[in-house]
Subunit: 201 residues, 2 copies
């Protein structure tokens, strides 16, 4: 399996950046040189518990997840990342400390990855990226805060509703077991929730 349309992969990333702040040709060239495309098969690991997270990943095609396995062996999904999203364990990445998290693919996926040293070089040679990543992280922070608020203040039913309306594409694309784990409930209970819904409407 080849990585089809490699150049257009990078184009996707470039327009992602440009939607925030314009880039000149030199800056675009550095991006092309710094990010490397990679193909991952379904269920493949990008990061395993105990390892140091060595890259930031920008998803071009497919879908990944990041999760923690608790003491009882249960999976708790922190984040999904489909097309045009970022995924990484920032804590482990910057501190170069072992991660408690796992990242793997839910589908065959194409990502653009950048290593820590390449990112630092990118910051040095094009300081504009401090600003770009500041804005990106700020946006992620706001979304995460919204999710936390939901989690501590709403019932499972409301949270599922919010998920469906916020990620309509993911709702049908992902198995319910995965969505249940993201919502912090059991698959059985999610099944009952969906059952209630259809009866209502």
């Amino acid at each position: 399996m080849k990585i089809e349309g490699l150049e257009s992969s990078v184009d996707l990333l470039l327009s992602h950046f440009v939607s925030l702040i314009s880039l000149d040709q030199a800056e675009k060239d550095i991006v092309v040189a710094s990010f490397h495309p990679r193909l991952f098969r379904k269920k493949q690991y990008l990061l395993q518990e105990g390892d140091i997270c060595t890259h930031l990943y920008f998803v071009v095609r497919g879908c990944l997840r990041m999760y923690k396995i608790d003491d009882k062996g249960l999976v708790h999904i922190l984040q999904f990342a489909a097309e045009n999203s970022w995924i990484s364990d920032l804590g482990s990445f910057y501190a170069e400390s072992p991660s408690e998290l796992t990242i793997d693919t839910l589908e065959d996926s194409v990502v653009l990855q950048i290593s820590r040293t390449d990112l630092i070089n990118l910051y040095t040679s094009a300081p504009k990226f401090h600003r770009i990543f500041r804005v990106l992280v700020e946006n992620s922070f706001v979304s995460l805060q919204k999710r936390l608020l939901q989690t501590i203040s709403s019932t499972a039913e409301d949270r599922y509703q919010y998920f469906v309306s916020t990620y309509p594409n993911l709702t049908n694309r992902l198995p319910q077991t995965q969505i249940a784990s993201y919502l912090g409930i059991t698959p059985e209970f999610l099944s009952r929730l969906r059952n209630r819904q259809t009866k209502k409407s």
Copy 2:
């Protein structure tokens, strides 16, 4: 009531920045010119639901909280901010959109505040602050992610333990009602948890 040691207030902020990246005198001067000290009495509002969040706040002395009031009138605390912490509704602040959140003080407090336009000027005249705030937000993001993980994967008892070990100073400083609201449980249940603990030890 005067704001004692005003200069040392700004010193606290400057050393907060310098602990991340060194600043030259010109940059320090801009900080001093951009941030303004303010005193808030206990229970005073800094942001009310429906208003646009106009400032970032750095806490010099005292303690604030940010929370949402749900449909039933219940309070859900997203964040405490004591000395050396930041607090603001970033979403409302950047988008200039009405906030769903409230910020107020739990004690008489001194903060250094910066307005949106002053912050934009700060970024323009000293681009280094893109980097500084990128790092600050990244750190906040990592903490928030940890808290979310806790919330979806642990029992109330574990979350309380984590709170006590992460914020030992706040544990005795704040009323249990506030901590309960932060943990997403009722004050009655927190009381029972503490009761269990003391019996165990």
